[in-house]
């Protein structure tokens, strides 16, 4: 059972990686037309990946948390006995980074919600609630490039 869950965990992680890179490329290197493969990859609406990415993050995290005890007993003990410190360290890095990332999810949603309001010409009421202009301004600063209207 744990092997199957580990495979699902890995597949979800790959899907999350795809969603995040889509979002990152569409933000930092946007394309107006989807001519080739790379342009098509960049021409997506980045903000629309927000909820999917958050959901994938939470589900992947939850699944990883569920199978973690099995890893702790069977795998990590073996890794430590084999003195494979770098492999153990890489897992530790991943573990701590993901934990910190979990706390950032509401903020991630907030920032992208403002961006989405701008991209899709949301109503003024929605724009007020999401503080779109200021957030967009910040995102432009983050990305270091002019924002498309």
């Amino acid at each position: 059972v744990y092997t199957a869950l580990l495979i699902v965990h890995g597949l979800l992680a790959v899907a999350l990686l795809g969603g995040l890179t889509h979002q990152a490329f569409a933000t930092l290197w946007p394309a107006r037309q989807s001519g080739g493969f790379v342009s098509a990859y960049r021409s997506v609406s980045a903000a629309r990946f927000t909820n999917v990415n958050i959901t994938l993050y939470v589900v992947t995290f939850a699944l990883g948390s569920y199978i973690y005890p099995a890893y702790r007993i069977a795998v990590r003990t073996w890794i430590e006995n084999a003195r494979l410190w770098q492999i153990s360290g890489l897992f530790e890095m991943k573990e701590q980074s993901l934990a910190i990332g979990l706390g950032m999810l509401p903020f991630f949603w907030l920032v992208w919600k403002g961006q989405e309001g701008q991209q899709e010409g949301a109503s003024s009421e929605r724009a007020q609630m999401d503080d779109g202009p200021a957030l967009r301004h910040r995102l432009v600063q983050f990305s270091g490039r002019p924002h498309r209207q």
């Binding site: 973690y68 005890p69 410190w85 890489l90 701590q96 509401p106 903020f107 907030l110 609630m129 503080d131």
Partner: protein, 123 residues
Amino acid sequence: MCGACMASEPRANERYVMSITKVFGIFAAVFAVAYTIAFEWHWELFSYHPRLGEFGWGQQASRGGPVMHWYGCLATAFFVAAAVSLATLPFLRKRCVPLWIGWAVPLLCIFAWFWFLRAFFIR
């Protein structure tokens, strides 16, 4: 200037939503710092003994198998971040939270973790 400042006057329910969303940056920052401190100083809320399938409050000694502190550190970080976020909520009605707090502080914590874990790579 921050993301939660606005020009026109919002309705009451909008103000509430805005105040809630304002603390998301603070939550992210405090969660990262609290998690890092909880892990380094062993302030986990509970520990888990995976071989026995048992939980215990706070930091627990080994009972013939590995002890997992990660879940407890996550719980500590969540409660601390939630408490601080709720405590700051009344002060944010007319104040702004710089957006950089929400990403710069967690990023610094991740760099701190690289430093803490360096021993795994320089043995």
